[in-house]
Symmetry: C2
Subunit: 588 residues, 2 copies
């Protein structure tokens, strides 16, 4: 039994100034966590209980699928991460340090290298495989913008696991097993999720899916087909290519276009100065060329121009995902000064490309198909060009999924409209393949005694992030509303009477009775605290069932509130214990 009179907790009436999202606000106000540094939080007793409940569920399911738990240091020597180039590729996201002897170390952001080497250390035969290993361990990433409390921290608890198989079929099986385990874990946690196709990012590898909890404040944007099963992170959406009808396109024609700072003014000017016979010009006829600076992991900078249809913005998160591990930076005045071929506001593809005189890399969104015709910049001030045809009048160095995805865009599988939503990444499953095994020399002898490179999968669940995600899903204006599987206690019993009216004795004995039925009880036995304050605290703290032992007791009744279902029931005091046990069990 937890007694609120002794519990190390204080609730706050006001939101913390730096809290942007409900989970952060409520977890701080309810005394679950406290901020120590940007992206660094301390766990108070109630918060720690929730975290450990989540951890326990993750561990049980990982053990049940046959994965074996190990544990690596967080402080890791540089050399291994040099071999895979991640020491450099991680760029500023890596916490690096030097020990007293001058040796370089890092704080592990993820442990692919270490797991690969450990399996190499122990295993040597195909008979040893498959094996899946996991750890639940503190990770470190020097995020550029730690935010949203536990949702994007710099020190966080993660379950990471790795599968090791002899062949692709084995990897697929390990992947499917992990995927099914993740479905069970999130179901037990009560977390709604969508499984979406994902980018592989800096990890390398091929098949990759994310588990997203669909929540509006989430950092990830994903699409879902309104008709088929297709779902993908917008970073990973593949574009359904437009079909263009064959048409005789006139030769390119330069058109003066002074004072056309936007696509809208350009379209208006063209409709006035150079009207089409068949229809009005629209933004979809224009090709917008956006220049960015790529900062490569080795410190090198490279200008990159991306062309997208003028009716769409460039989605910088999508771009960032494609160019990773390089980072995207704005193309500033100094950079324009260094590259006079890039005429700001009038950039066109005719002067671009690695093989052009400028040597500037030029990539096109896949919507700009071969044969399509565009109005775009003429690479001189106050001039645009019309009838510029991709493949006839210009080429690019490749394609890049860069244009923003819009609600209603066609599904790449079935062409039905896509819908867009936001979510929090709560899990990631990933066919890593042989990249790490090749670099680090992990092979086993196969049935014929020949060395075979092992193929790997990598799988992650953000344990501390799951706590915040659950709080995002399960809260209301009054406070938190924990699902029973992770709640710090099952029942919050409030003594809401005076000392001598029997409420205290009744609540104490009810609490003992509930505990002996296997429920965990948080008892508000504080003296000198008004019932109003106790009610507010109970709502804020968020145990699934609140029991108010107050004035009604004299008339033989106790109030039972179901925080999740939002119901209030007056229950006869003699049957209230049984009522609560039944109610709690109904969540199991």
């Amino acid at each position: 039994m937890i007694r609120l009179s002794q519990l190390f907790v204080r609730t706050l009436r006001d939101d913390p100034a730096d809290a942007e999202v409900p989970s952060h606000r409520l977890l701080v106000r309810a005394g679950y966590i406290r901020r120590v540094a940007p992206g660094g939080y301390s766990w108070l007793p109630l918060g720690w209980k929730v975290l450990r409940n989540v951890e326990r569920i993750v561990r049980q399911e990982m053990d049940a699928m046959g994965a074996q738990e190990v544990h690596f240091p967080a402080l890791l020597p540089r050399d291994v991460y040099e071999l895979t180039n991640r020491w450099t590729e991680y760029g500023d996201n890596l916490f690096r340090l030097v020990d007293r002897r001058g040796a370089d170390y890092l704080l592990g952001p993820t442990h692919e290298e270490m797991f690969t080497l450990l399996v190499k250390d122990l295993y040597s035969s195909y008979k040893d495989l498959p094996v899946s290993l996991y750890q639940i361990q503190t990770k470190y990433r020097d995020e550029a913008r730690p935010r949203a409390g536990l949702l994007r921290g710099r020190e966080f608890l993660m379950k990471d696991s790795y599968s090791f198989d002899l062949d692709d079929a084995g990897l697929q099986l390990s992947y499917d097993t992990h995927r099914a385990t993740y479905q069970r874990i999130f179901s037990r946690l009560g977390l709604p999720y969508v499984i979406v196709k994902a980018m592989s990012g800096a990890m390398g590898g091929s098949m990759s899916e994310e588990f997203l909890a669909p929540i509006d404040i989430g950092e990830d944007t994903f699409v879902r087909c309104t008709s088929c099963d297709y779902a993908a992170n917008t970073e990973a959406v593949t574009t359904a290519l437009p079909v263009i009808s064959a048409r005789d396109t006139p030769a390119p024609k330069n058109v003066p276009s002074p004072e056309c700072p936007t696509i809208a003014t350009l379209v208006a000017l063209f409709n006035k100065q150079y009207p089409r016979a068949d229809r009005q010009w629209t933004a979809a006829d224009t090709l917008k060329n956006v220049v960015i600076m790529l900062r490569h992991a080795d410190g090198r900078n490279e200008p990159l121009v991306i062309g997208v249809p003028g009716d769409r913005e460039v989605d910088m998160k999508r771009v960032a995902a494609q160019v990773s591990p390089a980072e995207v930076e704005p193309f500033d005045d100094a950079s324009f000064a260094l590259h006079p071929v890039l005429v700001r506001g009038y950039i066109g593809p005719q002067s671009l490309g690695l093989t052009s005189a400028s040597g500037i890399r030029y990539l096109l969104d896949p919507r700009v198909v071969i044969g399509s015709e565009w109005v775009t910049g003429a690479n001189q001030k106050d001039v645009h060009v019309a009838h510029l045809v991709h493949g006839r009048d210009f080429t690019a160095d490749g394609t890049i999924e860069a244009a923003e995805i819009l609600s209603g865009d066609p599904c790449p599988l079935c062409s039905s409209p896509l819908e867009i939503a936001r979510g929090i990444e709560i899990g990631h499953v990933f066919q890593l393949g042989r990249k790490y095994a090749e670099i680090l020399g992990l092979s086993v002898l196969d049935k014929n005694g020949k060395p075979a490179v092992v193929t790997m999968g990598s799988y992650g669940i953000g344990v501390s992030r799951a706590v915040a995600s659950i709080a995002e899903v399960f809260h209301d204006d009054l406070g938190l509303r924990w699902p029973r599987a992770v709640a710090p206690a099952d029942v919050h019993v409030v003594i809401a009477g005076k000392g001598n009216d029997g409420t205290s004795d009744f609540a104490e004995s009810l609490s003992v009775q509930l505990e002996s039925s296997g429920l965990e009880v948080l008892l508000d036995d504080r003296s000198g605290v008004s019932p109003g304050v106790k009610f507010k605290d109970a709502e804020l703290l968020g145990m699934p069932i609140i029991v108010i032992v107050g004035k009604g007791l004299a008339a033989g009744s106790v109030e039972v509130r179901d925080r999740l279902r939002n119901t209030i029931t007056e229950v006869p005091s003699e049957s209230v214990a049984a009522h609560i046990v039944t109610l709690a069990r109904s969540d199991d």
Copy 2:
């Protein structure tokens, strides 16, 4: 049930090259841990189970005493540690790093500051106290000499707790409660311990005791009185002062002493050149002055001369403990060159002291009492001086417990002989007092509404070190021998027959039966591995009970080995399950 055929483990026949102590050697050979970096280890599944068993016992007992669990980040901002000066005082032992914005961080070696600030954040009244908080968390120390595997690592798991009280009586009660809890914890872990008086080191504070597991390879040396209860780390032993009889001492007299590199040659020379009338000169008549360089935390160097009776060595660990947080470094040739007053081999107290011309600090071991008479250096080459009396002919800047403690030295409490032993520090309890609360402003309003500075205790148990300590105590030449409370499994069942002789079926069903009785079973179901190898592995892995299902089964008998008691029993196969359950329960 853990199946050895699938368990991620490989035993090694050979000792690892870098293993100095049995626990390190055996934990690596048995596949419990692997080295990743100096002082950094990975835990394999069996090792992780032991660690979690230890952690569970620690947590249960901490909860039972009413301490509440919280959890802090390991990555901590510099500013808080600046306030207490520990950013500097920790010197090279602290891992420091800089984040992408240029802010300074450290990896927490201990969390006094954070706990103090957390209590300050939440609590404000005497009614809130007492409170005891703890965490079980990964700590980092950049040890100069990481060694002995888990015994002295740079990344390790620790339980640290802190008590907060209004007054000294409250602190004493919290301290006593922690002390009793530690006794229960170590008893449950099966770890023998001695509670010894300890130095407080860099922590500040007053009363402090260590729990030492008496093990020969331990880094700590402690004394125990052969008669009374007195026990202390040698660093903390207080010297029983010798009694000197009043005697007319002649005036100091210089005696030429060429080629006297040692105390022994000096004594021999004196007995020859300047014999005493009453008895021979002995080493105990000489005053040995040893010069060291103190390296203060702020980088400043300071020479320090320490005088001890010539029949004892200076114990540098004792000295280091007294001068901490300054570090002791050798006084090298360059330093002698800078201080010509220090004539190597002929240093005497006449030229020393902060108020002397040299200004060099001079401290005396307490055995050099006022009125005692010495032969010592005359501060010129090839000359010593006799009849130099402390208090008459020289003074010092203070005393320092510096001389080695010898077996048979008198107990400071009862004068009976002390005995000396070595041990591993497995726990530390500590009355920290008001130091941190004062610096960080932790006070509460007392009954009269006046602010009162809170007094604190600090208490630690090395959780990963406890695993190694248990392995040090419980092993033999064949391998590990885990006490049941922490063993990865209760019973190791070995299938030692051929597949078709019934041994496999019997062992499988026995294992199921044992598991249903609540025992955890490790089943060696490997095929293609000889019984001899299986026996050796079972002995090395160290489960408390080994069951061999082999040739004897045909005659109705199974072999049961008790690893801890070192017994082997043939048990009828039909009653073996019951026999094992009884045997296992007898450890509880």
